[in-house]
């Protein structure tokens, strides 16, 4: 089947099987920044912002969200023009293998969109659905704090 979505601000028609997950539909549609880590909603590598909320795209049927607005890491910023969150992850040393990073970045975006000045506890809770095996999370927390600070300072 086919469905129309607004992905990273651009209308896009995706083809997918009726029982396909949003993750599958996005990856088949060329959005390879959405990573597949577990297929059980536990690792968060596939996290995207769907109509303003963070979701693990492996736990959402594509057919159930046709017409939605989806934001992925590529929609947030580019290498030439990164989003402050993406730059903060680099600057804080929060990226090692990077496989979890697009999902982590989206979780951070979802958090900071609603709460520009989160406490450490709120940061931990917001990232609870995103697993990272490389960093021990220490520098990821630093990155979120740094991003929050920069986004507050520069609007």
């Amino acid at each position: 089947m086919e469905g129309r979505f607004v992905i990273n601000g651009i209308e896009k028609v995706l083809s997918f099987e009726p029982d396909a997950t949003l993750l599958q539909a996005l990856r088949d549609g060329g959005f390879s920044e959405v990573k597949r880590g577990c297929d059980t909603g536990e690792c968060g590598a596939c996290a995207v912002v769907l109509n303003g909320d963070l979701v693990t795209s492996c736990k959402v049927y594509a057919a159930s969200v046709v017409g939605s607005e989806i934001l992925t890491a590529k929609g947030l910023g580019t290498v030439q023009n990164p989003h402050p969150i993406q730059q903060a992850f680099v600057d804080a040393g929060a990226i090692q293998c990077g496989f979890c990073t697009p999902g982590m970045v989206m979780a951070t975006y979802a958090l900071l969109s609603k709460n520009p000045d989160p406490t450490d506890e709120e940061i931990r809770r917001a990232l609870d659905g995103n697993k990272c095996r490389c960093t021990g999370y220490v520098k990821i927390f630093d990155a979120v704090r740094l991003a929050a600070e920069r986004m507050r300072d520069h609007g």
């Binding site: 597949r36 929060a94 609870d128």
Partner: protein, 782 residues
């Protein structure tokens, strides 16, 4: 150290950082080609059995199925090659005991058949229609009984060991390493007290976020390209060629970004499968494991029984030390010898003043999941026992463990006979420690955790909760001496930038960035003038791969040698261009000048233009090349401290703080080094407390997902602190040793020791679950 570096030692930004943060960095599954087939695998639900027959006729009938493969047809057009999946030096110190397909299954999760189809869903549906007739055999699940007469034999085909070491599959003996120095019995007889204790470590998984992935296709000339999520691309090329009986020159392995490895991707077991399907179908083929498959069918940390016996005098002198380790290989033996050897060679030398030392090491086959390389590589397992043993010993002697370890640990200028006795499966090489700041690590770590205020105080801030602190020290190596080798190649471009082509594999550690820093340091230019390309078997020179903590030390040594050769060649051409003798030339910041007359100068870019376009008969590509292998493996040292709170009502252990003070030589990129330590520490804490494989009585893993395996998340993270103790290893590139593995060894014993400090119970087997702690507390109450 008063060395002034401009590139190394600084927090240079990770070179691929922004591409990973913005999602443009590509991993194996992100590559695609029209007409790609997808692979699904049928795994054995039984731990041990002979396949009497496979009926795949219904699978072939599923629309979209292109190929179905099993032992029945895989060898129609090639020999059945027995090999090892371990990506190690050649010949590998691992048994040749694996086949692409076999008609015997040896663990629940063993590969039985596979389907290549137009979509993964179709392939999975077809797999479900394959009927297999098994003749079940009694499984072997108890490593302690593996060598008893009459027990099931896991391997009985044409398996063999490619190097001359003990190997007897008829007795399930996968590896054996025994050595003794002095006379342990005599030493034990002379001792005031003899301590004897057995510890057990458990199955654990790497849990890299990116599953094992391979994508095989043909280029326009008909050569096979294999994209692989691997830490050992050159070994993958060799193994693919070997297993498929296919010319190595026709295989081109590319390692794109890799989503974590920690040793788990030092194996080639899905690449030959994808490549074989590509050969049979002529189509691009993708084989990506699901998370469940990663847990059940890839590689694990080897479980180990660690039995330590020591004779000790009242003054603390250890008169004899015996370590008797029994390691579980599982159904196949990749790394089964070398992990065992590391449990001795990187643990026993820590206490190098013991005159009588004995190591009895055996690895046995069982019908369980397959062990492999995993960060820490045997040292983690043995350190769990050994450092609890030392904690226990010092408590019995009523001496401070910090002072005890500081007195007896190996020091600069000292060696250990163990270094010579044991290497990677065979004899080792003599080694004198040239850099060891372990005592300083102990002091600084103790101060940071507040040791003197907390040790033995049983502090309680709420009812039923008691705090304690514990510590552990450990060491690792930096590459495998005279076995590991890396190489690199550089060339100069018109803008003064330099391509750095290297075999080193960045699996997420930041090695590409550190290699650029090393090259930039030699050339005295900024890091962003170095353009790295790593691990493409067609393009880059050889490297054994990212393992054995070899990246910065061995591959970095190659990059330094390469950059030095490159700089020499730059100066030669500059001498021609400037008409100044080489010995009068100076360089800095990409400029070269006559030291006698600084007005006579050029820069790297102009020099390159001269050499490429204007040097007449001297026109050439300015380039450089270097290889490096080390005769020694300088160990990094670490002192790690845990502060825990034990809930005496529930047995729950919470780590409040974890401090690591590490001597890794000069940290070439301090922020990345800290990141490595923090990741290893949290992995080690998870291993210590919650992560475990649960099995049913048929030997099947019952919790193959992150939640039930209990991987740590952001809410579980304690306060983790890392102290980089300043040191300098003369043999390493700009003073560097390694850091990647050593940081995972201490959490389990430090936490176990902290639990004892808090509530006086000692847990001898991992993981340190609430159930075990509670049971132990109840035993004490009785």
């Amino acid at each position: 150290m008063d060395r002034d570096f401009s590139s190394v030692g600084h927090d240079v930004e990770k070179i691929d950082g922004l591409s990973l943060a913005t999602g443009t960095g590509r991993y194996t599954d992100d590559f695609d080609a029209p007409g790609t087939l997808h692979v699904a695998v049928l795994y054995s639900p039984h731990a041990h059995g002979i396949i009497k027959d496979i009926d795949d006729s219904e699978a072939w009938k599923v629309p979209g199925v292109v190929d179905v493969m099993s032992y029945k047809n895989a060898y129609d057009d090639m020999p059945k090659v027995v090999h090892t999946t371990a990506g190690q030096g050649f010949p590998e110190p691992s048994p040749y005991d694996s086949w692409l397909f076999d008609d015997k299954v040896r663990f629940a999760g063993d590969r039985v058949a596979a389907v290549a189809a137009e979509t993964l869903d179709i392939a999975r549906e077809a797999v479900s229609k394959i009927k297999v007739e098994y003749e079940l055999q009694k499984p072997l699940f108890d490593p302690e009984r593996a060598m008893d007469p009459g027990v099931p034999v896991v391997h009985d085909r044409d398996e063999y060991m490619p190097i001359p070491v003990p190997y007897d599959p008829s007795k399930n003996l996968m590896a054996e390493k025994i050595f003794s120095i002095g006379d342990v019995e005599k030493g034990l007889a002379e001792a005031d007290i003899v301590l004897d204790q057995v510890y057990h470590t458990h199955y654990a998984h790497h849990c890299m976020m990116e599953p094992h992935s391979a994508f095989a296709l043909f280029d326009e000339t008909g050569r096979m390209i294999v994209y692989s999520s691997t830490s050992v691309p050159f070994h993958v090329r060799r193994i693919v060629a070997q297993v498929l009986d296919y010319p190595l020159r026709k295989v081109h392995v590319i390692k794109p970004r890799v989503g974590g490895a920690y040793g788990g991707k030092q194996e080639a077991f899905i690449e030959p499968l994808a490549a074989k399907f590509a050969l049979r179908t002529g189509r691009p083929v993708k084989a990506i494991l699901s998370r469940e498959e990663v847990f059940t069918s890839s590689r694990t940390r080897h479980p180990m029984r660690v039995h330590v016996t020591a004779g000790v005098m009242k003054d603390g002198t250890i008169t004899a030390l015996r370590m008797d380790d029994l390691m579980t290989a599982g159904a196949y033996g990749p790394h089964g010898l070398t992990v065992l050897c590391n449990a001795a060679s990187k643990v026993l030398p820590l206490f190098n003043k013991v005159e009588n030392v004995e190591f009895i090491g055996r690895t046995v086959y069982t019908n369980q999941p397959v062990g492999g390389a995993y960060r820490g590589y045997g040292v983690t397992q043995a350190t769990f026992g050994f450092m609890q043993f030392i904690d226990d010993l010092t408590r019995r002697l009523d001496v401070d463990i910090l002072e005890y370890v500081k007195k007896w640990h190996i020091k600069e200028g000292e060696g250990s006979p163990v270094f010579e006795a044991i290497g990677e499966g065979k004899a080792g090489v003599p080694q004198v420690i040239t850099c060891c700041k372990l005592s300083e690590c102990i002091d600084r770590g103790a101060e940071a955790i507040g040791w003197s205020d907390k040790r033995g105080r049983h502090i309680s801030n709420s009812p039923g909760k008691v705090r304690g602190v514990g510590m552990a020290v450990s060491m690792q190596g930096s590459g495998i001496p005279l076995i590991d080798m890396g190489s690199a190649y550089m060339k100069l471009n018109e803008d003064g930038s330099c391509n750095l082509l290297m075999g080193a594999s960045d699996t997420g550690t930041g090695s590409d960035t550190v290699m650029c820093q090393i090259a930039a340091e030699v050339l005295d230019i900024s890091t962003d003038m170095i353009v790295p390309l790593s691990s493409d078997t067609d393009v880059t020179p050889f490297d054994v791969g990212a393992y054995a903590s070899s990246g910065t030390y061995v591959s970095g040594g190659a990059v330094r040698a390469c950059a030095e050769d490159f700089l020499k060649n730059i100066m030669k051409v500059a001498s021609v261009m400037l008409e100044v003798p080489v010995e009068r030339l100076d360089t800095s910041g990409g400029r070269i000048w006559d030291s006698d007359n600084p007005d006579v100068s050029t820069d790297f870019g102009s020099l390159c233009c001269f050499s490429l376009y204007g040097a007449g008969e001297n026109m050439q590509q300015i380039q450089g090349y270097g290889s490096y292998t080390s005769p020694v493996s300088p160990p990094p040292f670490i002192a790690q401290f845990a502060e825990v709170e034990v809930d005496t009502f529930t047995g729950r252990v919470e780590v409040l703080r974890f401090v690591s003070a590490v001597d890794c030589g000069k940290a070439l990129n301090p922020k990345m080094t800290e990141g490595q330590v923090e990741g290893g520490v949290l992995n080690g804490i998870g291993y210590a407390l919650t992560e475990q494989y649960l099995f049913d009585d048929k030997g099947r893993m019952t919790n193959p997902d992150f939640g039930n395996y209990k991987v740590f998340g952001s809410l579980d993270v304690p306060k983790i602190e890392t102290i980089l103790v300043d040191s300098y290893e003369e043999t390493g590139p700009f003073g560097a040793k390694s850091v990647s593995e050593v940081c995972i060894n201490g959490p389990a014993p430090a936490i176990a020791n902290a639990i004892y400090d808090a509530v006086g119970v000692r847990i001898f087997d991992l993981p340190l679950t609430s159930e075990k702690v509670l049971a132990a507390l109840k035993d004490v109450d009785r």
